[in-house]
Structure formats: C-alpha cells, structure tokens
Amino acid sequence: MNIHSVYFLGIALAYLVLLFIIAYYAENREQAGSSIINNPYVYSFSLAVYCSSWTFYGSVGKAATSGLAFLTIYIGPTLMAVLWPVVLKKVIRISRANNITTISDFIGSRYGKSLVVSAVVTLIAVAGVIPYLGLQIKAVMSTFAIMTGESRSSSIVGLILTIVVGVFAIIFGARHLDSSERHSGVVFAIAFESLVKLLAFVTVGIFVTYGLFHGFGDIFSKIRLAGFGHLLLLGSGSKTGYGEWFALNFLSMMAIMFLPRQFQMSVVENYDESHVTTALWLFPLYLFLINLFVLPIAFAGILKGVTGHRADYFVLTLPLQYGGRVLSLFAFIGGFSAAVSMIIVSSIALSTMIMHSFVMPGIVSLSGMPRYHAWVLNIKRLVILMIVLLGYLFAVYIGEFYSLVDIGLRSFEAVALFAPAFFLGLYWRRGNKAGALAGLIAGFLVWFYTLMMPGLVKAGVMQHNSLVQWMMNSRALAPNALFGVQGLGKWGGPLVWSMLLNVMLYVGVSVLTRRSKDEEIQSLVFVESYDKVKELIAGSSYTVGDIEGLLAQYIGSTEAYDTVQQFLIRKDTTRDRLTPRELFELRSDAEMTLAGAIGTPMASLVFENKLELTEHEREDLSRSIQGITRNLRSSRQELTERNRELMYLKEFSENIIESAPVGIITVDGLLRVNYWNREMERMTGVRHDEAINRSILLLLPWIPNHVLIGDEEHELTVHDQAGSTFKLKASPLKGSLGGYVIIIEDISEKKKMEEQLLQTSKLANIGKLTAGIAHEIGNPLASIFSLVQELMALNFRSKQDLTFTVESLNTINNHVERIARIVRSLGDFARVHTSEKTVTDISEILDRTLSLVKYDKRFRHIEFNRQADSIPGMLVNPDQIQQVFLNLILNALDAMPGGGRLDVRMKANDGFVEIQFSDTGAGIDPAVIGRIFDPFFTTKPQSSGTGLGLNICATIIKEYNGNISVESRKGEGTTFFIKLPLRENIR
C-alpha cells in the first residue's frame, strides 16, 4: 500500500464517517418522534439502492461493448414500477399483517409458513447475491487501483473497507433482534448516497459531453464515423437481438421485486403505503437521469481511446485523464457510494434471511444457554460480517473472470427464480408448497449449471473432471445451448429454460398434490381477503386458555395474559364470549408476538406445537425466549408510551384547530389541501373530504397567487365573489415537503360594524359642528329677513326704491348662496359613502375639511396655517380620510377654547405622505398620552366626548398600512403625525 492508497483510503473512510453521522442523525430524529424517513421522496431515493456500482461503472462498459442493451436494466424496473399500486401495495399489506421481514419469509409464509421453502429461497438468494456483493467490492478495489495509479487492486484496502462497511451494517442494521422494526439510519444514509451517486454521474456526463465534445450530436456523429454505428442499433446488425432485449427487460423487472435489498427497502422499510404512489414515477425518473449520459461517456471513451483499463471504468478514467483531480475524486466518491449502499442493505437483508431460515432453527435445538438473546443478536452480527467477507473472497478469487455486468446479471437470473412462487402464489390459490419447492429447485439447478458452473470451473474452484468436461462439451448439455437449442442468447437461454421448468413444475406438482390445512389458510391470506380465513378457521379447536397457556410457555405468563387482555379490550368482549373467528385472530396475534423475535416459520412451528422437545428443553427455550421478549417488551412499552403521548398531542392540537373561530388550511408543496378545519367548512360550504387533495387555487380562486409563492409570510384583506371580506394570513411550512398554513378570518361583519361606527362618529361630529355653524346660517337669514321687510314696505315709485331693491336682491342672493354652500358642505359630509376606494387627491380632502370647519364660529379665534405639497393621487376612501382630518381638527379646537394657531403640513417624503397637525392648545398629560388611541378613552367631559374619535383615526390609518403618532407638551400644544405609504396606496 503506497502513500496514494493511504490518501484515498482516508477519503473513503471520511466519507463513511459522514454516512455514520447522517445515519445517527436520522435515528435520533426517529427516536424523537419526528421521523425523517416518513417521506415519499426519501423512500423513492432509498429504492435507488438498486443502482449499485454496476450502474455507475458497468452500464458504461456494457454500452461501449453492446450498445443500447444496458438500458434494459432500467427500463424493466420502470415498467414494473407502474404495477406497484397493484402488486407492491398488496405485498406491503400482507407483510405488515404477518410481521414478514424478508423475501424468503414472504414466500415461505405463503406456502403454509414453510421453513423448507424459506430455506430454499434463502439459499438461492445467498448463492445469487454473494457474487453480486463481490462485484461491489471488486469495483471498489479496481477504482482504488485506478485512482492510486497501481497496476493491481490492493486486497488489503478492499479488506479494510469491507470490514468498515460491515461494521456500519451491524451498527445500524443489527442493533435489535426484532427485524420488523425499521432502520431509519440506514434508509436515510442510502437515500443520501443515491443523491451523491446521481450528482457524481451527471457531473461527469456533462463534463464529457460538453467539455470534451460539443454535445450529444457531436459525439453520436463521431461514433458513427468511427465505425461504431452498430452500438446505436437493436436487432439485426447490432450486438443485441430482440429476444435478448426482452429477456434482459424481464430479468430486471423481476430483480426490482425480488432482490433481497429491494424487498428490504420497498417493503420492510416502507413507512407509509401511500409513498409507493410517489415512488412509482420518481424512482423511474431517477433511473432515467442516471442513464442520460451513459452513451456519451461510453462513446467518448472509445473515441478518446482511453486505454489501460476496461470500458467499465470510463466514468473514472475520462475525468482522470482530462478533467483533473477534483472531478475524478467526485466520480470516485459516486462509485464508492453506489457500492457501499448495496453492500450495507444486502448484508442486512441476507443476514435476516439466514437467521430466520437456518440459524434460528439450529438455535432452538441448542437452547439453554445463558444470555440467549444476546447470543442471538451477536450471531446475527457475525452473519453480516461473514456475508461481506464472502463477497470479498469472491471479488479477490473469482471476480477477475467476469465483467461487472456479467456478475450482476447472474444475480438477476437467480432471484428471477422466485417469480412463479411469488406471483402465482399471490394470485393463484392452488399453488402449494410441493409445487413451489419443485419449481425453485429445478430452476436453481438450471441456473447453477448454465451460469455458475462454467465460471467456477474456469476459476479452478470446481474440478474440471471428465464428467464435467463431458457434460459441458456435449451437444445436449452445453451450458450456453442447453438441450441443443441455439439462438436464445447468453442470458435468454438460461432464463427460458429455468423459467420453463420452474413454472411447469410449480403448476404441475401443485395440481397433482394436496395442500395441507396450513397451506390452505395461508393461500387465502395471500390471495383472498383475511375475512375468508376467519370463516375457514371457524371450526378451530383452540380455546382461549390453550392459546394463553401455549404463549405463556415461551414468553411468560404475565406477557401472555397481557396479550390476551389487550386483544379482549380491542374486541370489546370477554373470554367467555369469544367467537371461533375471534379465537383465530387471537391465535394470529399471539403467533405474531413470537414472529417478531424468531421469524415467521419458527413462530408457526412453536405455536402449532410441532417442536418435539423434552420438558427440560422446553423450559430452557422458554427462559431464553422470555429474555428476548422482555427486551422487546421494554422497547414496545416505550413505543406505546410515545405513541400515547403523540396521540394525545395530535388530539389536543386537532381539537384546538377544529374549534378555532378562524378557517385553518394546510397545503402541500403542490398547493393541494391536506387540512381543512370545521370553520372553513362553515365559511365556504365545502366539506373536509371534498377539499382534501384538491388545489387551493381552484377551491378558493380569490386567494391571490403571489401569497403562495416563496418563503415569506403574507397578510392581507381579500374579498370573495359574494362580496364577503376576509383577512388572510399565509405562512410557509417548515420542513422538506414545503407547503403553507393559511389562516382565514371572515371579517365581513366586523367591517360592517366599523362602517356603522364611522358613520355614527361622523354624525356626532356634524352635531358638534352644527352648533358652531348655526350662526353662520342665522346671521345671513336675519339680514335676509330684514331686507325682505324693508322691500315689502317700499312702494317702488322712486328711482331710489328701485336701486335699493336691486342692491338688496344682490345681497340676499349672496346670503342665500353662502347658506347653500354651508348646507351643501354639511350634506356632503353627512352622506353615507360607499367603502370603495378611489384615486383621490388628499390635499383636496384637507381643503374641503378646512372649509367646512371654518364656518364654525369657534374657529374665528383660530389662526389656520396650511402648507401642502403636490401629492400624487392615492387609492383611498375619501370619506375615511376626511373623517381622520376632521377628528384631529375638532380635537385641536377643543384644546384651544380661547383661540390659538393650527398648523397643517402635508408633504411627500421617502415613499410616504407625511401629514402633521400642530396646535398651540393645552397639550396632553404625559400620564395618559399612551392611552389616547384606546377605544372609549377620553379626557373630555362625558357629555362632549365619546372616546372613539382618535381610535377611529388609528384604525383607518392602520388599514392603509400607515402610522399615526402624537407628541405633546403640557401647556404648549400637541402635534399629530400621520404617515401613509405611497407605494401601497398609489395607482
């Protein structure tokens, strides 16, 4: 190991430390009750564990040698993904109901909870997946050699990394025995790694396509000119026939369902069944993006003649030769990510399968050890280490003989063998254990003979004796053309023969043999609904005492009693009133309690009393399982406690939200409603279930779009089509999913009351003014009266009479005009205005108000000083603004009973209109100045003040997002300042 190796080993270990931190963070969040993996996007990204180093490196190698064939590995899962709502959701439901945690348990459980079927499935999975694990380790070792410039892969580096990754899998995947619990740390770390490898691959792709060439067109035209045009074809003239194309698509469709790591992520780690709906398009989109640049990179490698390494590593060698160290390091991390994620999840999934199918049955017969549960857990950890080490050995001793794609496809062929037992088992009730076993074993033999044996012989692992030589060279048994049939393709041939035999034997044997009662029940559980099972079992001979007694033997009488009591409470019944159906359900519950600790098949065996143990062995086993159960019980109790707290909090918050007198809505990032409270139903007439998942913009079209964009809070007043007024506040929701919480208050009534109050206040002001203005009308009227009397006394005989008459009429006319003007001013002010805003010159409103008050005799001793700049037209309600001005002027008048000066200034400044009313009156006592805008606060005698004037002023100014303030000195005078924003109120 040279200095470069140490450097890159350090980088790889640092990356693993980062993964540890990420996984630790996710686990902490889970324990705190705010799971980060309960998210459809994290779920979708975690499924991308499918994209291992085969995708990262091998796809390019495949594209460089076979052209478009590499796409089948991703098109198959894309096709399968659209069937997930039909298939995967059913699998998740069945698995959850039966505490199933592995693909082997699933298939075994379908066939009467058969341990033998489980064991065969596990065996096939281990045989198929260990080489695949080796492939990842081989890729890591090879890329290390490329990065460090060594000619050979360092097996020490491979071993160190293998062990570290194994330790990671142990820490986050085998902390507890209950394999039905989710591994939030692992899931989140895998989702993170998926992002890293996608970014790394796309970055290299962009660099190659646009940095080394001039885009896709340039690369494709050059590759055609270089004589590699066949790589862009399918069928005749290319290296991939349509038969092979179909076979590879089929294989990858099966792989996405049956690879143990995919089952682990898509079924066991699934938090919410609804996440599947997002994953069915997001996961294929991920596959699409990661494949977008495969062809350009492969062709660039060919065109640039990158030598020294095979095409499998063009993703690394191209950046290394042309892109510099940073890009090549990023590519290295991406490939490392892809390999590590696969190793971690596969080792966890395989270890659980081995534990449930092989180790637990063995441990049962060796029970009696002290600290049994700790031993079981340690064995599981050991199994994980063994799995990764087996992968390492494969990489070192056999991996050299295969390309990355070749190894991967052998694994796909192996897991595809589960298809008949899995799919037919889900939809065909007649399928039984004997049929499943016959099909699986026959398929496995074909797989081993056609795909594994040639490689093992080549590597020297198997002896090339005369029998093997004869078989492999014979015309009928040649592995690459079984039974002498040519033309099925390298992968199509083994697939066709293994699948044909598998299906034929599965169907044939199932039809010819009988099912046991267990198989019959399980076939109903998997194919039909659970209710039918209850009917079938109605004649069960179990009693509640039998079930409790049987359970007590293994988990202790207290736990057994609790299990039965909880069931009775849930069913709201008593021991005496249990129906046969309920008895069956109780038995299933009891069986599931054991299954979480020791696996489904073992729990089934234990529960059916099929284990033939001596009394002493039974006691030992019982003690051991009680140890495990205590362990589980404490975590279950903790979980129950947390759940209870959570439920209480949920109920508490929902009660508050539901009884709130304001409408509360939450929407997701796509603006679809996911909460709609009772007040919203009342306000809009739209029911909760009608609103959920619909777009808020369609439900409430009067909400302006801009309030639901960006991360800012918005508060505004809006009107609906029916003219109701609402106060709306939209705040972005924190968290990765985005969305908004919208609070809506119906303020129509409040608005009406405000308008009425305004009108009342206005009438009160008119009342005040009338007294002062009366003499303004009285004086001219007296003059008119006197003139009319004099005119009536005239006899119109002299010219003087005529002249007097003309002068008098002129005077009368002037007086009448003046009176009319005063009455018109008062009338204008008193009229009920609409609440609509119009573009208005507010300096004109000021002038109108000053003209009105000048008629009041009390203003005779007041000196007015008006300074008003030109103000742009503002969108205001003139009536409201005049009310503000009048209130302030009348207050100034009240403050200056003996006369004084009132300065009114109005100017536009820095985006605001500033209006100032300064009087030289008595001033306001500092002790009460803070309360003058409060409603019903007044310093005047009760007969002359309501205490609403200044409060109305403040309310009106606030409505325009403005501000009103006051400064006063006792004995010197008072100044009111008003600031109105121009930008918001201008048109």
Binding site: T78, V86, L292
Partner: protein, 56 residues
C-alpha cells in the same frame, strides 16, 4: 376505468412501446426513441399517480 385497470393498461402500453415490433419500426433512431418514450412514460405514470391521489 378502475385504478388497478389503469395501471395495468399503462404497463401494457409501456411493454408494447419498449418491445419488438415497435422497436423494429423505429430502428434507425431507436436510441432517441427509447429515451423520448421513456420520458413520456414516466410523465404518464406521474400524471396517473397524481390523478389517482386526487380521486382518493
């Protein structure tokens, strides 16, 4: 069309689009066809998933 039937229909449409004889018809531009059809297929699945979610 029920939800399950819709997904099976989309699956069959995809299977047809990604298989012979359609691939033989677009033989000369099969690379471009595969990527375009793939993208459209994902888009269709996304739309169907959203529509399904809304129906629920």
């Amino acid at each position: 069309m029920k939800n399950k039937e819709l997904w099976i229909f989309i699956f069959l449409a995809g299977l047809l689009g990604f298989s012979w004889p359609v691939l033989a018809i677009v033989r000369d531009g099969v690379g471009t066809y595969l990527f375009v059809f793939w993208a459209l297929f994902i888009g269709l699945a996304a739309v169907a998933a959203r529509a399904g979610g809304r129906q629920r």
